[in-house]
C-alpha cells in the first residue's frame, strides 16, 4: 500500500486551530503510517510517546472500569486527535483507543509537541479546544447512557505485545 503524503495541510481538530507556520514546524517531525485493525493507538495506563492524529479509519474509545471490564465511549475517526490529555498533563491515559479497521495515522513525537507548546503559548488555545472536545464526549455519555444503565461492561481489549 502506498504511504500517503505528509498531512501538514490536512484538517484535524488540532491543526485547524494552528497557524500555517506552526503546522509547518510539526510537519518536519510527522510520521504517517497505516496500522491494522486491532492496533492500540493509546493504551490505558501507558504514557504515550506520540500525539496521534487519525487521518482515515474508525477507532473505538473504551474506558477501563476495572481490571477485567471496559465501557465503550463510542467511535471516532478522521480528524480526531488522541494523547493530548496525557502529553500535556503528564497523567496516564484512562482510555484505550483501538483501531476497528485499518487506519491511516499521523504521529508527532511527544517532545517535539511539548517544545512547540513551550515556544508558542498561543498554541495552548488549540490544545484547550481538543481537550474540550474530549470532555464533551464524556458529558454526552453521562447524559445519554448512564442513567439507564446501558453501558455494558465487556472484557478489556488485549494489549498488543
Amino acid at each position: 500500500m502506498n504511504t500517503p503524503p505528509l498531512q501538514s495541510e490536512a484538517t484535524n481538530e488540532l491543526y485547524e486551530m494552528l497557524s500555517p507556520q506552526l503546522r509547518g514546524e510539526l510537519a518536519r517531525f510527522e510520521q504517517v503510517r497505516i496500522v491494522p485493525a486491532g492496533t492500540h493507538l493509546i493504551s490505558c495506563g501507558v504514557p504515550p510517546e506520540h500525539l496521534v492524529i487519525v487521518n482515515a479509519g474508525k477507532v473505538e474509545i473504551t474506558l477501563n472500569c476495572s481490571s477485567r471490564h471496559a465501557a465503550s465511549l463510542g467511535y471516532s475517526g478522521a480528524g480526531k486527535v488522541f494523547g493530548m490529555r496525557a502529553l500535556v498533563s503528564g497523567e496516564l491515559p484512562e482510555v484505550d483507543v483501538t483501531c476497528m479497521e485499518s487506519c491511516s495515522i499521523t504521529t508527532v513525537p511527544r517532545d517535539v509537541f511539548l517544545a512547540l507548546l513551550k515556544n508558542n503559548p498561543q498554541a495552548y488555545f488549540a490544545v484547550a479546544k481538543v481537550l474540550s472536545s474530549d470532555l464533551q464526549i464524556a458529558d454526552r455519555i453521562l447524559r445519554g447512557n448512564t442513567r439507564r444503565g446501558t453501558l455494558r461492561p465487556r472484557p478489556r481489549p488485549a494489549k498488543t505485545v
Binding site: 472500569c65 471490564h69 495552548y124 488555545f125 484547550a128 470532555l135 464524556a138 448512564t146 453501558l151
Partner: protein, 242 residues
C-alpha cells in the same frame, strides 16, 4: 477586607492566601496582574445561577469560595447533576474555549464568590500566557477525569442502593475533620438535598429516601441534618459490585 455572607471577599488575587492550593490560580505574577485587570468579582447567594445550559458563552467563572452544582438535562428529559464544583475551579471553560453553548447549568449550593472573565478576554489571556494555557489544560483534564469517574461508578451500577453506596463512599474520601471522632465512624458533610442526590444518581427523591431509610435502619449510616456518619463501611462496600 470586605465581608459578605460570613466569609471574606478575596478582591486581590495577588494577596490570596490559598492561591497556591488551587488548580488554576497558581499562576505567575505577570499572569496574576493581568487576571486582576480582566476579572470582575461578585458574591452570590445560595441558589444563584451563574450560567444556564444552552446559553451562548459569555465567559468563565472562577469559583473562589463556596460550591456549585453542575446540572444538565438527560436524554430522557430529566434534570441530573453532573458533579459538584469546588473552590478553585473554572466554570464554563469548555463553552468559552470551544465557542459552543454552556453544556450545564451552574447553580451555587451555598453563598459563593466567583470571578467572571469575559470570553474574549479569557481567550487572549490563555493565548498570551503559557502558564495559563497549562492550567486550563490541567483543569480540562481534571474535568474529564471526573466525568470518566462518573461514567465508571454510576453508569455501570444497576441498582439504586449500589449507586447511593458508591456516592457515600466517594464522599468519605474527604471526611469531616471533627475534634472528637469515634473509631470506625466516618463523618461527612452533606449539603445536597435528597432531591439533588436523586438527580446525581439518576433516580427519584422517593427512592433515595427509601434506600437511605433502609441504610439507617440497618445501622450503616446515621443522618443528623447535614452531617452523615458512616457506621458500617464494609456493609456499604459489599453493595458495590462494579
Amino acid at each position: 477586607m470586605a465581608m459578605a455572607y460570613n466569609f471574606h471577599i478575596i478582591e486581590d488575587c495577588l494577596k490570596c492566601a490559598v492561591r497556591e492550593q488551587r488548580l488554576f490560580c497558581d499562576l505567575s505574577r505577570e499572569a496574576l496582574i493581568r487576571l486582576q485587570n480582566i476579572k470582575a468579582t461578585s458574591v452570590y447567594p445560595k441558589g444563584a445561577m451563574l450560567c444556564l445550559e444552552g446559553q451562548p458563552p459569555r465567559g468563565v467563572f472562577i469559583l473562589c469560595t463556596g460550591r456549585a452544582k453542575l446540572s444538565t438535562t438527560s436524554s430522557e428529559g430529566k434534570s441530573m447533576i453532573l458533579r459538584i464544583a469546588e473552590p478553585g475551579e473554572v466554570l464554563g471553560l469548555t463553552a468559552a474555549v470551544s465557542g459552543t453553548p454552556y453544556e450545564a447549568t451552574v447553580e451555587t449550593l451555598e453563598p459563593s464568590q466567583a470571578n467572571f472573565i469575559a470570553q474574549t478576554d479569557f481567550v487572549h489571556f490563555l493565548q498570551e500566557h503559557p502558564d495559563v494555557g497549562l492550567r486550563v489544560a490541567k483543569q480540562l483534564t481534571h474535568n474529564c477525569k471526573c466525568a470518566y469517574e462518573e461514567v465508571r461508578s454510576l453508569g455501570l451500577s444497576n441498582s439504586v442502593p449500589e449507586k447511593l453506596a458508591k456516592l457515600i463512599l466517594r464522599w468519605a474520601e474527604t471526611p469531616l475533620d471533627l475534634p472528637v471522632k469515634k473509631q470506625n465512624e466516618t463523618p461527612l458533610r452533606v449539603t445536597l438535598t435528597q432531591e439533588e442526590i436523586a438527580q446525581f444518581i439518576g433516580t427519584s427523591r422517593e427512592t433515595v429516601s427509601r434506600v437511605l431509610a433502609n441504610f439507617r435502619k440497618k445501622g450503616w449510616v446515621r443522618v443528623k441534618g447535614a452531617t452523615w456518619t458512616i457506621l458500617n463501611r464494609r456493609a456499604l462496600e459489599s453493595l458495590v459490585t462494579t
